[in-house]
């Protein structure tokens, strides 16, 4: 999509495995902003997001030798490293909060959920050029993708918190992707 992505995944993998400055430069210039966007959506403070994104690059750099191109796409692999690192950070942070404060209720109803997203959105105003494509999705689809992809909830947790059956999660996720697909086409 970006004009800078002019290397095929195959070439990029070969380049990264060389582990030289040229490889790092290419990786950073082409992928840093997207990966940072993912991290920012999960870690809602600029200060902490900066910490996490550094770790993400170190991990990509370290584990590129373990990447198996037969099993998936490099870009997706990198995004998932960013997601996992940010989600882990989020978990450890909320664990600390839980120790400090009174225990959080497991059940969050829809209103609280929306309030929370509103707060997060205000926090996200910290970031330069923050664009939330998902806002254009139907609310019930958006919340599913956000909870799964950016908040790391499991199917069971989502079903509990939104009070919907597991089967509905599957069909709504499918619907969300169909919507997203048409939306993304418009952006091209």
């Amino acid at each position: 999509m970006s004009p800078l992505h002019n290397l095929s995944e195959e070439t990029l993998i070969l380049l990264l495995k060389k582990k030289n400055q040229q490889a790092f430069s290419y990786l950073y210039d082409n992928y840093a902003d997207s990966l940072y966007g993912v991290v920012c959506r999960i870690v809602n403070s600029a200060e902490h997001a900066e910490e996490v994104i550094q770790d993400v690059f170190v991990k990509i750099w370290k584990y590129i030798d373990l990447f198996d191109e037969d099993k998936g796409r490099l870009y997706t692999w990198m995004i998932n490293i960013a997601r996992n690192a940010a989600l882990d950070y989020r978990k450890s942070k909320s664990a600390k909060d839980e120790l400090k404060n009174q225990p959080l209720s497991n059940i969050v109803n829809r209103e609280e959920e929306q309030d929370r997203s509103q707060n997060e959105r205000n926090a996200q105003a910290d970031f330069i050029g923050f664009k939330n494509i998902l806002d254009n999705l139907k609310p019930e689809c958006r919340i599913l993708i956000e909870m799964a992809y950016y908040e790391g909830y499991t199917q069971q947790e989502i079903a509990q918190q939104l009070d919907i059956p597991l089967g509905t999660i599957k069909t709504r996720t499918k619907a969300a992707f169909l919507q997203l697909k048409t939306m993304l086409k418009d952006y091209r």
Binding site: E50, Q54, D88, A148, T171
Partner: protein, 283 residues
């Protein structure tokens, strides 16, 4: 498995979002290796999330590039271009981080999952493969049995239909009011034998069915005789190819007082061999 239904079930979307259970993931990985449509659907869904990441990119704070590069250097994760000229140093420098990998994997939680999961998938995939091979064998054998049974049933049906056709044939003969039915009974030495002659009184046509007669030995044929005024007149031989119980058309007989059957050499004889007399019946 119905691949279309599998693809449209939403499982692929759950997978790319990280929502699929480990069991679902291992099944999906096994299927994608053997089915390009599933593989393509996964790649498409992944590309969508890549596009989303691209569109939702956030500009990195400026100094970070230099900062990360310095960190990689300090952690000895760089292959310096100058070093490649130094020859022997290269292996030790580049090998160090690789040697460190197992430790760092144990320390760092998210990436710890990578190799473990990979083995998990491999094991699950092999198990699935063995299961599916077993299932294939089982279904193959069952299918073989089924087709044998089907062939048997078909053969049975064929023979029953043939019998029915014979009976229907005879039934139409018997129903015809012009037909006279003459029962030919076994002679004293062969009391079980039985044959029936259907004689059309109008057209003079004669039909013969061997109800209970042993199959003639090779080279022999049953020959039907009409007794006309005390003299035997040949009414033809019973066709070798015909089914015994089928009413086979013989030669026309204009006038007769009795019928008899002898066992003769193939093709029949002009005069009956009386020692080979099997059945007879008078009108």
């Amino acid at each position: 498995m119905d691949i279309e239904a599998y693809i449209s079930s939403g499982i692929i979307e759950l997978y790319v979002l990280g929502l699929a259970s480990e069991e679902e993931v291992s099944i999906l990985n096994c299927i994608r290796q053997n089915n390009s449509a599933v593989d393509l659907a996964i790649t498409e869904a992944e590309k969508m999330l890549e596009d989303l990441a691209e569109l939702q990119a956030v500009a990195m704070p400026m100094p970070l590039k230099e900062k990360i590069w310095t960190r990689l250097k300090s952690e000895n994760l760089i292959t310096e271009d100058e070093q490649s000229d130094l020859g022997p140093i290269v292996p030790t420098v580049t090998k160090q981080p690789v040697g460190e990998l197992p430790n760092s994997i144990a320390e760092e939680k998210p990436t710890e999952m990578v190799p473990v999961r990979t083995y998990g998938w491999a094991i699950a995939a092999s198990l699935l493969f063995v299961l599916s091979a077993g299932a294939n064998l089982f279904f193959y054998q069952q299918q073989k049995e089924n087709s044998q049974m089907l062939a048997q049933a078909n053969a049975q049906l064929d023979s029953q239909q043939a019998t029915l056709a014979v009976l229907q044939d005879k039934w139409t003969l018997v129903q015809n009011p012009a037909i006279k039915t003459i029962s030919l009974k076994g002679i004293e030495s062969k009391p079980d034998l039985h044959a029936i002659v259907y004689w059309d009184q109008q057209s003079k046509a004669v039909f013969l069915s061997l109800e209970h007669m042993p199959l003639p030995p090779k080279g022999k044929q049953y020959q039907l005789w009409a007794m006309v005024d005390g003299k035997p007149v040949s009414a033809g031989v019973f066709p070798v190819a015909a089914k015994a119980q089928m009413a086979s058309k013989m030669l026309d007989v204009a006038k007769a007082q009795a019928f008899a059957i002898t066992l003769e050499d193939e093709g029949g004889k002009p005069a009956p061999t009386l020692t080979e007399l099997c059945v007879m019946g008078s009108i």
